[in-house]
Symmetry: C2
Subunit: 414 residues, 2 copies
Amino acid sequence: MQRLKGFREFFPEPLPPGEEWSCDLRQYIFDCWRRTARRYGFREYDGPPVEPLSLYTAKSGDEIVSQLFNFLDKGQDAVSLRPEMTPTVARMVAAAERAYRKPIKWFSMPQLFRYEAPQKGRLREHFQFNCDLFGEEDPAADAEVVALLIDVLRALGLTEEDFVVRLSSRKAWQAFYEAEGGKPEAASEFFQAVDKMEREDPGTLARRLAPTGVTAEAVAQFIDAGLPTPELQGILDNLTARGLGAYVKIDYGVIRGLAYYTGVVFEAFDRKGEFRAIAGGGRYDNLVSVLSGGKVKLPALGFGMGDVVLALLLRKRGKVPSFASTIDVMVLVEDETLRVDSLALVQRLRESGKAVDYSLTPMKADKQFKRALEMGAAHWARLERGPEGVILRVKDLRSRTEQVGTPDSAASLV
Amino acid sequence: MQRLKGFREFFPEPLPPGEEWSCDLRQYIFDCWRRTARRYGFREYDGPPVEPLSLYTAKSGDEIVSQLFNFLDKGQDAVSLRPEMTPTVARMVAAAERAYRKPIKWFSMPQLFRYEAPQKGRLREHFQFNCDLFGEEDPAADAEVVALLIDVLRALGLTEEDFVVRLSSRKAWQAFYEAEGGKPEAASEFFQAVDKMEREDPGTLARRLAPTGVTAEAVAQFIDAGLPTPELQGILDNLTARGLGAYVKIDYGVIRGLAYYTGVVFEAFDRKGEFRAIAGGGRYDNLVSVLSGGKVKLPALGFGMGDVVLALLLRKRGKVPSFASTIDVMVLVEDETLRVDSLALVQRLRESGKAVDYSLTPMKADKQFKRALEMGAAHWARLERGPEGVILRVKDLRSRTEQVGTPDSAASLV
């Protein structure tokens, strides 16, 4: 009765033997994604995890369709678990854009799926932070989105030593392709070839380029020159004004695989080159129009950042905080005649906002105390019978100081 | 290019015409679920949204299997989108319980799925708050879990006037069934009949009861008497000690449909009876053993609370907060020669933790100001050229007061 291959279970820390995915770390990452997006004025949305298959075939990005987790549902409809969020959000915006001021700045944190031949360590799902901006074609929008990408990683403790955003442009590549006499009908193959060149050998690149009419040498020269277009220069200047210039560079080695990109494209990488891309995105000015049958035209751009590479990178760079403290107060019940009062104390402390635990059934005092330490409690609290009635004793387990008060004073003592 | 029937899209507020699911309200509910569970010392976990079909057939709850969103994947494996979380968490705990102290207190907020004949307004997915406690058979554990259920609803602003938890017991029902001479092989049908009796007419109940050997009159008398077992009395006393006695009552009209319950069962309902159950759960002391092939025996109980009924109830009772304020500060850029400095100001404010927006491109001053009001900004901030250089002016839009400082002082002025 195992879980399916390629799917993860997320456990609370400390992780059981053999498990590597921490729900505490996941939540830490999710909180950081959400908090940073909100600081940028982005609003949260979500869509269905199951979509009509045609939503993905409409864009005719055949590369990704072959990897879909698609199936026939009981009603014999062709559907798919979502492999990416962009078509969903483009559809939602196309349908609802009149209700919102422009630019529309939205984010989401969907779980995404693909169906690949099972391979060791290859997952069939991941979570992806998606940020998109609709309704603004000025490069100032691109800069705003890239700045958000950078600040999310900074909020997770990563610095300019740890990562860089490589900025490129489909328009620059298109101009190059035309100038080099590339065959118009092979443009899509050309983008695919360049997208894969860093992961494949020179022979494969040459084979892929052959039908396009552009040489590997010309491609290499274009990347080496790395001359920014005015658009890219505008983005660099904007990010520099924010103090984020050190986090970006022009790098035409990035082109992105998906068919729908139309302008600026970018990917974030760890500086040491140990991992796959941390995040990637770009402009897709035509997709809303395609998905709305031409009814709505809205320039758009966005990026996705997955949880898998990010978690591995944070671990490797020692940027994962400790999740050892799970409660604020352990209520010790040493005198069982005070259990009813202790339950009232637990309730009072929880109502004051504290995370509180206690032993559900009678337990030896030293074992309760040990448990308080194991759970990383900041305090313990205990009711005691004194000469003048029941008193409350609270111990701060960090400063080792004790305080005594009435049971009613609990919230003020911890 | 529509979404699939029975699936929701969650939009940021204000909602577009025709849409009823607010992502802001959803996140408000999620935050409340998570915060309250943590106050109770519950830890978060998650499992795969796709599971082997056998995970659900193993329990042989045929009623639910017929409604599964199951399918054959590309590898011809029989799988299902998860219809409930309990089998998943029982498997996770069975596999990993040695790594955790008992009792294990876990929560999750999965999206769940079912495939029913399309009906108006019937959804094929919902989100469900799941809280489970493993490793404690004492009724003190049942009380802890029911208290958490109550406090989640209280944290959402609902009171004892709004809802009540109806407490029942499979054991009490089993004892009644045996005392009445019910046929052992029809026990499961008997529980199903009782589970449905509140939603069906007396004729149907009589037909369902016929093969069991127990009469509808005996059932009605048992429910009317409502005598608490010692176990249920213990739970009532425990909740009363916490000051939560007014939120529960013994009510054998609740029995729960699922096959795996073994002891106490409960459901939360709105007092006015306008909605289906808000939440439901109970003890399932054998499920971990069943799913681990008898290797792990752990008493267990838990509950699930869906987001759909809850959102409808909160709306109906006027307990939904306003989500009109989406940013803290609007930075006004009225002098375009100060745009670079304004970007630095935006960055500084965001780094101080504020949610900040600004116009990406040049915009008339009055329009920027109007936008600040529309977005519910608490402040606007503006750079101005003065006789002694650039100054920062900040206006508190609630108190209508203005402050002036240097651009560096931004974080201290808002």
